[in-house]
Symmetry: C2
Subunit: 246 residues, 2 copies
């Protein structure tokens, strides 16, 4: 039996999703809790790596299991042992060939910016405090330059092997609510640090450091130094993973 | 010159306000930052102790100083060196005899409860996750029993010396927004752990463990064991300190 788990986690105290020998990770904690609950020594498969400090509202994992615990009771059983920073919100049986990572067709990440002059201390774990004025219209104009299918090699940190650096961005939605700015980016996949570099580039466009109409040229240049800085991890949250084209 | 500082802090990583030799505290950090900014070795006076893990939206401190930094620039200077978990939102000159603690006439604390079945991971540092059903009407009925002037010795943890254990509660406001319940308690002062014991008692009233009409008797009994548990510190936040009767 193959079970899909919906998870939320506060990534502040984790070194990302993927198991590491000496550091706390979400996958490591989930594997331990799964063992406590079912007695099975199984490693849950995740929908993707996340960096240290990055959060998730809609992370997805799957586990091949022989557990006799009724599937609808699994979240209750897991949450009894999970720390307050990780919660399982749903569990359901999926076809054997379902893979949290390979079956995903698109993902939405949210990047959050606290644009107050003085930071909101209660958001400091969940937002990038950027105190200088940001022009939302310029940020939206710049965002349009990312849409479509491009080679995003200039928007990636090196260090991971991938078959191709071509990705498609379907939508970017930028909203401002008080001093909080959110950037929702939906794409068929993202390179290492790609969303954080896109967020840093949009902030540079909003603060006048980058011409909002130059994004297309910057992508084409494949030159990492022409984009903005890599925005800090605490502002990033995996919002949703899609398994069917809607 | 005597300067009043308005502060907000996320208490998660602090051992409360008051300076301790070997643990990080808000007062300790502020004293260090004040020294960096002004060169003065002064200990800011706070409006009261807070427990480890307790937060503040409206903490007040005061400092006697000879600094030549313009008062309206002080928050900017302090925030440059303060960690993301502490922010100074305002500074103003006050009369020499103003004392953040002794001049306070009333305070409002907010206690926050996450009443979801599965906890909201992004609130786990700022709310008590209590998953069982709570009857808000019963909680409000119980809250009425706290109003007025009483000897609250049965609602205090021992360990601190105070002249009197008589306190006046002016108002308790309980609101529910989705699964989040907030309890705002305003009084002329609070004993050690008093708000957390009141919150635990209101939750016990809301879950049927304590008769909401028995609060007055429980206070009169001066028997700590008749109240609810001491609610955990992460749900507590000092919301506002009042220096004039309004």
């Amino acid at each position: 039996m193959n079970i899909k788990l919906d998870l939320q986690f506060d990534g502040t105290d984790f070194h990302g999703w993927q198991i590491q020998p000496d550091n706390p990770t979400v996958q490591g904690v989930l594997k331990d809790v799964w063992h406590k609950v079912t007695g099975e020594d199984t490693t849950p498969e995740g929908c993707g790596r996340t960096d240290a400090g990055v959060h998730a509202m809609g992370y997805v994992a799957n586990v091949h299991t022989d557990t006799t615990i009724p599937t609808d009771r699994l979240p209750y059983a897991l949450n009894t042992f999970l720390p307050n920073s990780i919660v399982c919100t749903n569990a359901e049986v999926v076809p054997d060939d379902f893979s949290a990572s390979r079956s995903a067709v698109k993902k939405t990440y949210r990047y959050t910016i606290d644009n107050s002059v003085f930071p909101d201390v209660f958001r400091s774990r969940y937002a990038w405090h950027y105190k200088y004025p940001l022009d939302i219209d310029k940020m939206r104009q710049a965002a349009d330059g990312f849409l479509g299918t491009h080679d995003f090699i200039g928007f990636a940190r090196s260090g991971f092997t991938v078959k191709t650096t071509i990705r498609t961005i379907y939508a970017i939605k930028i909203e401002k609510n008080g001093n909080i700015i959110t950037i929702d980016v939906t794409g068929n996949g993202f390179l290492y640090n790609m969303v954080r570099i896109m967020a840093g580039t949009l902030v540079f466009a909003g603060s006048g450091k980058i011409d909002p109409l130059a994004i297309h040229d910057i992508i084409k240049s494949k030159d990492r130094s022409r984009g903005g800085i890599t925005a800090p991890p605490e502002g990033l949250c995996l919002k949703e993973v899609f398994y069917t084209d809607e």
